[in-house]
Subunit: 383 residues, 2 copies
């Protein structure tokens, strides 16, 4: 890793905020108890976990008792999908065609367990087609899962409208808000979802902590059985330092949200002005999006090629979803939006953070322009 | 938490080794990539994970490809039990009567999924009764789970002998080695188990990391579906810093094992000499045990009472298993060993670490003696 490299892949993971690290350090430097233990060490650890729970809850307008800590977003998604399914006889689960693998793969797994999996379509702008949702919900559906913001395009969904439709059909709604947290305001009650997944490491918190925010009326079974932590919903010794860090990362994200949005949106607009000038198509560009995400392609240029070339020039960007280990296929999100598969292979993602600067954006655009020229020259020579 | 308190509860959790923290800090202080990402940040993170995998594997005599990182011991146990069960049609799973809840609760859960759960008995010394194992294995059994060392008594099991019996009956063997790691030498191949659970925070590593060491012939399904990390067996962004810490904690535990054992065994003998002088019964005292664990009781004295009283005097000890949230019942481990339930309620556990000192042991014994006298005086007054 070159320390001078510019990190433009914040939807994959983010640097730990040093204020968050400072809050975590006492829990790493000094002996800690197991929060289940009844001695002073244990009580101290328990208190730290409960304080963090309140911080997370407060950030998303939930009650602390609604927050179930997990090891991360993937576990939160799996707990929602598999946990709701385990609590009842198989009917149908509906997931949108643009979900993260942490949602659609547990749903696929349930197909082998007697569940029907229905797919909710999106339009060409990456927005859930509400008529497709209504149609899907004609069959008895236990759970609908629609992400609040897409990790690749950044496109936002109208979760309150989707929740209203789900309620009308008696289906529970889970929303993967891993990418939305810290980038837009999130209010669990206002969204109207019954369950919501969060992750710490996408908001400058540590890896190893996430949460499922859960409407207490939801009948759900644990994924991990054991000591009965998290009121029996997630056994295993709590990762105290990571949970403490998650709590503060949430609090900071909430307190600084408007400033961060303003900074990042400015950078993103600067970036996209440049990208459009270079001839890029920006996917979901017509939709309301996260302020930090640009997913784009140039004709006849492979996304993978561009990622590798830009990495050599010192810019870390992504092609398709960095959370997936198989990226030889074009993005399923773009295919769902009706993008031509060949063009979709060109897609690269820049996802910004408040730690990026205008200078970095300009440097990126210049390097990209040079690289595009080089690739075009090479293509011309190859003809 | 009083910083001057003496921590004698190392089987619940341990303080992070400051050398381990030092190794983790670069991964917390500097921007890290997602190991799945293809840019320089991602490759750097991937390399750190693979280095730690080799350290863990080397410590337990396994091959790096046999190590599946999890969020901790509970997840490793659940992955072994639920994962093997998910890969085949229900038959029987056999667990010993002294397993940790992270083993017996997932087994109980499977009872609702068509599996039969058989219980393997232990003798009065807390050792697996091999005739009970043989008897249980008369019925077709997919998986046997027997812990390498018990978390409460510290009693060791003869895993190679158990593995041989399992092999003869065509059953897979999983062993929860969470308490054994770092306290005795562990060799995955020599043990002969097909799967083995490990945890970082019990060996002065960080919370949030563990592993399932897995014989590659085992047919197993993931618990967490998503991005396909850990060769598809454990999806979710890797907790890089925790995994790095786990790797070094293993390496240190291996390198310093003999010294640690010598130190701790001396302290434990000093402790038990004192305890016996005060009239304690030491559970499993006739068996080969971990060098650090003493589980004991005095007649007519509640374990809970003693834990609270000793906590006030500045000594952190445990009653029953600190990993369980319901400790109103007497220890299931002692009941399985045939201990009278009333006497079992008196059980308290001291679990030592290499950071404890002879002075602390003497201080503990003195404080305990005073407390026992006080409790006996109170009991005499109450009559």
């Amino acid at each position: 890793m070159s320390n001078s490299a510019v990190y433009l892949d914040h939807n994959a993971t983010t640097a730990l905020d040093l204020r968050v690290l400072d809050a975590m350090l006492p829990f790493l430097q000094h002996p800690q108890g197991n929060p289940t233990s009844r001695h002073s060490f244990g009580r101290h650890a328990r208190q730290a976990v409960e304080n963090a729970r309140a911080q997370v809850a407060d950030t998303v307008g939930a009650h602390p008792t609604q927050v179930v800590f997990t090891s991360g977003g993937t576990e939160a998604d799996n707990l929602a999908i598999q946990g709701v399914a385990a609590a009842q006889a198989p009917t149908s689960i509906a997931v949108s065609t643009i979900e993260h693998p942490a949602v659609y793969r547990p749903a696929q797994y349930l197909m082998g367990r007697g569940w029907k999996i229905a797919r909710i379509q999106v339009d060409e702008n990456g927005r859930i087609a509400l008529d497709s949702l209504n149609e899907v919900l004609q069959q008895k559906t236990a759970l609908v899962s629609v992400m609040a913001a897409n990790n690749e395009t950044g496109v936002l969904q109208d979760i309150p409208a989707i929740a209203e439709i789900c309620r009308r059909h008696g289906a529970l709604l889970h929303t993967d808000a891993v990418q939305a947290l810290g980038k837009i305001a999130l209010d669990f009650n206002a969204l109207g979802a019954n369950a919501m997944s969060l992750s710490a490491h996408k908001i400058h918190g540590p890896q190893g902590a996430g949460a499922l925010v859960l409407d207490k009326r939801v009948d759900i079974r644990p994924l991990l059985y054991g000591g009965g932590q998290e009121k029996g919903l997630r056994s295993g010794t709590e990762n105290i330092a990571a949970i403490v860090g998650f709590g503060l990362a949430c609090e900071l994200a909430q307190r600084e949200l408007n400033d961060r949005i303003a900074t990042i949106e400015n950078l993103r607009n600067r970036l996209e002005t440049g990208l459009r000038r270079l001839g890029a198509t920006i996917f979901g560009g017509e939709s309301a999006r996260l302020p930090n995400t640009s997913f784009f392609a140039f004709p006849n240029i492979e996304g993978e090629t561009l990622v590798v070339a830009m990495d050599k020039k010192g810019f870390a960007i992504a092609s398709g979803s960095a959370c997936s280990s198989d990226s030889t296929e074009p993005s399923h999100v773009l295919l769902a939006m009706g993008v031509d598969p060949e063009f979709a292979r060109g897609a690269v993602r820049v996802s910004l953070g408040a730690d990026n600067t205008a200078q970095q954006i300009d440097g990126f655009l210049l390097a990209l322009e040079n690289e595009l020229l080089r690739l075009k020259r090479m293509a011309a020579l190859a003809v």
